[in-house]
């Protein structure tokens, strides 16, 4: 290798930035900082404080006690809620990714812009409808007399209506439907960033479509898959409306438990459940970021 070629690879020295630019940046961040301080950090601190209160015979007692924590972590009921929450979120994530990736791939490979536009619109449609309306829609579809059961009965797959509504399955179906666009678009955008010459190079070197997909497209778009999965997982973990309307009180997840405890003025328990939910979300984000770094390397 020659000297001329090697010097090309040398990193350029960093140009020192002027300090004034940093103040400007803080100014731009101002509104967001104030909003998150007021609407996120302060309430969190208040929650933290409440978690040390005691709740006895329907009354709140101001205190510094770990009662709520001990209750929460020793009661198998809460462990059950935790497991169910994680299980639903994980299932929703896996199904969303499995449905979204082929969809995104198809959207990307379509070279008809008009068709692409319509498909994108259909994919986006779930978030154009309010979550409450959408959930009631699913209630109708999934009920004992709903379309799904009529088809299953009509085809003779089941002899009596399958119980779908007010089960974890209904919640999962509802959530997958909402999260589809959130999963498709990170994947789609990672695909559009793929250099078209890589595809030509792969074909030119003798690859068929599967080899191209498996060896080039999939590895190059994994960051998009992880981003989509992360969004699905965290949103699913915190979903309340879908879980309560399609779960009908029979599907117990963290947000519903927080809501129930809050309604009973059992603020210490609500706070602890909420903090656990927050920690779960943070841990999952960390895991996903680590994964993202792993595949991007």
């Amino acid at each position: 290798m020659t000297a001329a070629a090697d010097t090309l690879a040398e990193p350029r020295p960093r140009v020192p930035q002027r300090r004034r630019r940093r103040y400007g940046a803080i100014l731009l961040l101002g509104p967001a900082l104030i909003l998150s301080l007021y609407a996120l950090i302060l309430p969190m601190l208040v929650f933290l404080r409440y978690s040390f209160y005691r709740f006895e015979r329907g009354r709140l007692i101001e205190d510094w006690s770990f009662d709520a924590y001990i209750d929460f972590f020793t009661d198998p009921f809460y462990l059950q809620i935790g497991l169910e929450s994680l299980q639903i979120a994980l299932t929703v994530t896996v199904i969303s990714v499995l449905i979204s990736y082929p969809l995104a791939y198809c959207l990307w490979r379509l070279n008809r812009p008009s068709l692409q536009k319509w498909l994108a619109l259909i994919i986006f449609s779930p978030i154009m409808v309010s979550v409450v309306v959408r959930s009631y829609g699913w209630q109708v579809v999934l009920s004992d007399q709903g379309v799904v059961n009529q088809v299953l009965l009509g085809l003779g797959i089941f002899s009596e209506p399958a119980r779908i509504l007010y089960t974890a399955l209904a919640v999962i179906i509802g959530l997958v439907h909402v999260f589809l666009p959130f999963a498709v678009f990170p994947m789609y955008s990672s695909m559009t960033r793929l250099d078209p010459a890589l595809r030509e190079a792969a074909y030119d070197l003798g690859a068929g479509w599967f080899s191209f997909f498996w060896r080039i497209a999939l590895p190059r778009t994994l960051p998009g898959v992880i981003a989509g999965a992360q969004v699905c997982f965290t949103l699913a973990l915190g979903s309340f409306v879908t879980a309560s309307l399609l779960g009908g009180g029979r599907v117990q997840v963290f947000p519903i438990e927080v809501y129930r405890a809050t309604a009973e003025i059992n603020w210490p328990t609500a706070s602890v459940a909420n903090l656990v939910l927050l920690i779960l979300a943070i841990v999952s984000v960390m895991i996903f970021s680590r994964l993202a770094r792993l595949v991007e390397d």
């Binding site: 001329a4 090309l8 190079a201 030119d204 003798g206 590895p219």
Partner: protein, 365 residues
């Protein structure tokens, strides 16, 4: 024996015609260049040979077999892409091995071939690096061996040196030519850089507006351009609008105002007028002009020092068109200053006559 043959090939994009009815053959084992300005159809032609673009009309043969409708992954051709298109998530080894794995070759054989190939360009020590850690020149070399390792019948190169700086480009030109001679594979090379094409090619096809203007070895293209476009695109030429004064078996006598000189007809000299082209470096100055059949006097209007050569803009004293002369910068040729009066002239063989519109090109400095 030819490795690539195009017969009346046409390519359209909607209404516009990218390549119109071209036919040519590439001799086996030769270095063949498609040269032309951007938009002339040279890359499209190359991509049709690769199978990355469909042929709309005509027939395409590679190695004597009809490849017109054979997909890219089943053609005995491999391509070096403009920006190399190395797989960024794979190591150099994996990049070069990819094409062999696609052939279903066994692991041990792949290892041997890949190692050999990377050693050929001095990168065997970087096998487990990813392309992102390489310099432009190194990436170019990897792209070259990734295609060559498949031992294609024809190697296609789409301006592979375009993204590199000048020094490195010159060095890689020599390397490419050497490698081509060693492996003996037919190279079809696309470039807009006439210098590059002249240095490396056995044959050059000059393309313009979707068609082939002229096809021949570099010196023939340079010395005997058959159209004003080719004369202008390759090298530097003075274009003098002239009338044909006299025709004879040995050539023509042409004139522009007071300048009258003999010229060789480069295309069919049937019209009464056309343009004469004289290469910058064919115009001799001062004592070197003495005794030449065509000789006049001019005032030096402008001097440009280029490095290896000095360019003078001359205004002939008897009122001819302004001409550019280029003389070597050495201890033999004297240096003139603007305002000097100098004799100039050229040999009979230096002037060519092209039948064509006289206003075709203005001389570009």
């Amino acid at each position: 024996m030819s490795d690539v043959e195009l017969i009346n090939v046409t390519k359209r994009y909607g209404e516009s015609v990218a390549v119109r009815d071209i036919s040519f053959t590439v001799p086996a084992g030769s270095f063949f260049s498609l040269l032309g300005p951007s938009g002339c159809g040279k890359s499209t032609t190359l991509r049709m040979i690769a199978g990355l673009e469909e042929v709309d009309e005509g027939t395409l043969l590679v190695g004597g077999k009809d490849m017109t409708n054979v997909p890219a992954n089943r053609r005995p051709t491999n391509m070096v892409f403009q920006r190399w298109a190395l797989f960024p998530h794979m190591t150099l080894y994996e990049n070069v091995a990819f094409g062999l794995q696609m052939e279903g070759m066994k692991g041990a054989e792949i290892k041997k071939r890949v190692t050999e190939a990377l050693a050929m360009v001095g990168l065997e020590g970087r096998m487990s690096d990813k392309p992102g850690r390489l310099s432009g020149g190194q990436m170019q070399r990897v792209a070259l061996v990734r295609a060559l390792v498949k031992r294609p019948q024809v190697l296609l190169l789409d301006e592979p040196l375009g993204a590199l700086d000048l020094k490195l480009r010159l060095q890689l030109q020599r390397e490419l030519k050497t490698i081509q001679r060693e492996v003996g594979i037919t190279f079809v090379y696309v470039t807009h850089d006439q210098g590059e094409a002249l240095v490396m090619s056995d044959q050059i096809a000059v393309m313009h507006d979707g068609g082939i203007e002229q096809l021949g070895p570099p010196r023939e293209i340079y010395d005997r351009p058959r159209s004003p476009f080719v004369a202008d695109f390759i090298g530097g030429s003075n274009f003098i609008p002239v009338d044909v004064l006299e025709r004879s078996d040995s050539g023509l006598t042409v004139g522009h105002g007071p300048l009258a000189f003999r010229a060789e007809a480069l295309n069919e000299p049937d019209g009464p007028s056309g343009i004469a082209c004289v290469r910058y470096e064919r115009i001799k100055l001062g004592e070197f002009a003495r005794g030449l059949p065509s000789q006049w006097t001019a005032k030096v209007r402008d001097v440009a020092f280029v490095g290896a050569v000095v360019q003078y803009t001359l205004a002939p004293e008897n009122g001819g068109p302004e001409l550019i002369a280029q003389v070597p910068y050495d201890s033999v040729h004297p240096i003139y200053a603007a305002g000097d009066t100098v004799d100039f002239g050229w040999e009979d063989a230096a002037a060519g006559f092209l039948n064509g519109r006289a206003e075709a090109r203005a001389p570009a400095p």
